[in-house]
């Protein structure tokens, strides 16, 4: 079988239904093969759009997003989306064409060392030198992208490799060769018990939840922890929606652009239960003044995040869903009383009442952006898939669009990529065809990728 077909067979085996891409000279064999496959290809108008659409697709669906571009400039146009996915831990596989093996390193036409360029912004990358490695590499790429702390994986394939013939049996799974990759998913039982004891003893606890909760599909478990323990919840920007923001226990987002009450609560808390977060500087501000009275339980699947910025008192390395499940079991053994920290709950309520987020309706006869966002939220009841671009409008959206469910608020948090929102909305719409997808954008951000309007029209999307 031709290697180009093998690639597509392997993608199908990984469950890929949609590829976002743009063709070019060194990836033509792959594009020629697509005609024979039941894979949906979305032709974007710029490779950056393909990358962000794959990102939006992944965030909306929980599946690995796939984008494709040719060598050289096609590949370098994917750099921003790859960095974006890396910063927000989004599972993505980027496939790029490369010049023929004998032309690599000779400054050939449309040659760029894309594995080198993307080295600091990928979870892993491959330059395929032998066609027989393709089935294994594709299996590994999807496994790496989607497990542990998710992230982007790049596969760079020289064009002559895609033209070779090789034996391929779609039913035979190639053995992965990843001796150094063992994502630790189960929290240490002793640490979990310790966390339960600390939580039971806390007088002023706060849950600080982030994107890791959504990545691990642990919203239900988080909700049980909060309601069982009567613990107020604040989320990061990427964590928005992991806990319903209309819930009595929700304090919205924390940090520089967070709600006053979330920040008051964190500054007074004696325990911070940090789940799937990385103590980003937009959240903590000056680290030495962050949550000065609190001890920290830190749950994260990435061991390197534990005690990177803040020393954890109870570190737990593990998948949020599994850790929270076992934590609940342990907590229930301790039989917490509902009114054990009543004064704290009352204090949080008082802060919420006294320092609410203000929605300015109009000024000088003009509708204020916060009011418009507030109205969108009212009309959609917080259930639309909402994407944003980057800037002031993004923060207004984060504050006033109360997200009611995980994977319902899609935004470029870590990298802060202007131009992300619109192509991400296209990807989200492909992932959730029957649902309402909204992109809240500023004029600057929108103009960075507005050529994707043509893509949206071509595929009959109905974004707002």
């Amino acid at each position: 079988m031709k290697a180009s077909k093998v690639i597509l067979e392997a993608l199908k085996r990984e469950g890929v239904e949609t590829i976002f891409g743009f063709p070019g000279g060194q990836i033509i064999p792959l594009y020629d093969a697509i005609y024979d496959f039941d894979i949906n290809h979305i032709l974007v108008r710029h490779e950056q759009g393909a990358g962000h659409a794959a990102d939006g697709y992944a965030r909306a669906s929980g599946k690995v997003g796939v984008c494709m571009a040719t060598s050289g400039p096609g590949a370098t146009n994917l750099v921003t989306p790859i960095a974006n996915a890396y910063m927000d831990s989004v599972p993505m596989v980027a496939i790029t064409g490369q010049v023929s093996r004998h032309l690599i390193g000779l400054d050939s036409f449309q040659e760029a060392d894309i594995t080198g360029i993307t080295l600091p912004i990928v979870k892993h990358s491959y330059l395929v030198k032998r066609s027989q490695d393709l089935p294994r590499i594709i299996s590994e790429a999807f496994y790496i992208a989607g497990t542990g702390r998710p992230g982007p994986v790049l596969i760079d394939i020289p064009v002559d490799v895609t033209k070779e013939e090789l034996d391929f049996d779609p039913d035979h799974l190639p053995a992965m060769q990843l001796p150094g990759y063992k994502p630790n998913v189960k929290g240490h039982p002793k640490q979990v018990r310790q966390a339960a004891r600390v939580i039971a003893a806390a007088e002023r606890p706060v849950i600080y939840a982030g994107g890791g909760v959504i990545a691990a599909d642990a919203s239900q478990e988080l909700r049980e922890l909060a309601t069982y323990g009567h613990i107020p919840v604040t989320t990061t920007l990427t964590g928005k929606g992991c806990f319903p923001e209309e819930h009595d226990l929700s304090m919205g987002m924390l940090g520089m652009h967070g709600t006053p009450y979330a920040n008051y609560a964190v500054s007074q808390a004696d325990l911070l239960i940090a789940v799937g977060v990385r103590f980003d500087d937009r959240v903590t501000g000056n680290l030495s003044a962050f949550a000065p009275h609190a001890r920290f339980v830190h749950v994260d699947i990435d061991p390197a995040e534990i005690s990177k910025n803040v020393a954890a008192d109870v570190p737990i390395v593990g998948d949020a869903k599994r850790v929270l499940t076992s934590l609940l079991v342990e907590l229930k053994k301790l039989e917490l009383s509902a009114d054990r920290h009543l004064p704290w709950m009352q204090q949080v309520e008082t802060w919420k009442r006294e320092h609410p987020l203000v929605v300015r309706e109009s000024e000088d006869g003009e509708i204020m952006p916060e009011f418009a966002i507030h109205k969108i939220w009212e009309i959609t009841r917080g259930e639309a898939v909402t994407c944003t671009d980057v800037g002031q409008h993004q923060m207004w959206a984060a504050q006033h669009y109360l997200s009611s469910r995980p994977r319902g608020f899609i935004t470029s948090a870590g990298l802060g990529t202007m131009g992300f929102g619109f192509p991400a909305a296209i990807g989200a719409q492909v992932a959730r065809p029957g649902e309402l997808v909204i992109d809240i954008a500023g004029d600057g951000s929108f103009q960075m990728t507005l050529q994707e309007l043509a893509t949206a029209v071509q595929y009959h999307h109905r974004h707002r």
Partner: protein, 161 residues
């Protein structure tokens, strides 16, 4: 304090770049780095020496572990491991100084590996401190050039590093 990490990695193209790149972008400093194949050709060993004052070794280790090609990392305690450096040094030597140099070579159990009319090349192994002491003693004769491998280390006892 200097800290030695013994890192087993997959012997594949680009792995050294990934490790070096990680140090660069995280702002970690490498004191010395030795890389070579191990007893199994699919695996290489990197012996990396870092300064604990410049960066938290725990963070360096955790970040290294995130590289897919890194298989195992052992942090070597100096009291529980043997460490060596190899030095090749080219020293000026004429009829007058040659015998004195040879005496120093003998005391340090080093080896003269090349002789010409004006210079000697000496090979010497030892701990970092011993290598430095040796170099210092030879300075008076005029050092033309030298090359050191950087620190190699292996844990003591039965267990593999």
């Amino acid at each position: 304090m200097k800290h030695t990490l013994s890192v087993l990695v997959e012997n594949k193209p680009g792995v050294l770049t990934r490790v070096a790149g990680l140090f660069a972008r995280r702002g970690f400093n490498i004191d010395s780095l030795v890389v070579a194949e191990t007893e199994s050709p699919e695996v290489s060993r990197m012996t990396i020496t870092v300064d604990e004052q410049d960066q938290p070794v725990e963070q360096v280790t955790k970040q290294l572990h995130k590289l897919i090609n890194v298989i195992k990392i052992t942090s070597l305690d100096p009291t529980e491991s043997v460490e060596r450096e190899l030095l090749l040094i080219k020293v000026k030597a004429d009829a007058e100084t040659r015998s004195e140099i040879m005496q120093i070579v003998e005391i340090f159990r080093a080896k003269i590996v090349d002789v010409s009319h004006e210079v000697l090349i000496i090979e010497m192994t030892g701990t970092r401190e011993k290598v430095s002491a040796f170099m210092e003693l030879l300075e008076q004769f005029g050092v033309v050039e030298l090359v050191r491998t950087g620190r190699l280390a292996m844990g003591r006892g039965k267990r593999p590093t």
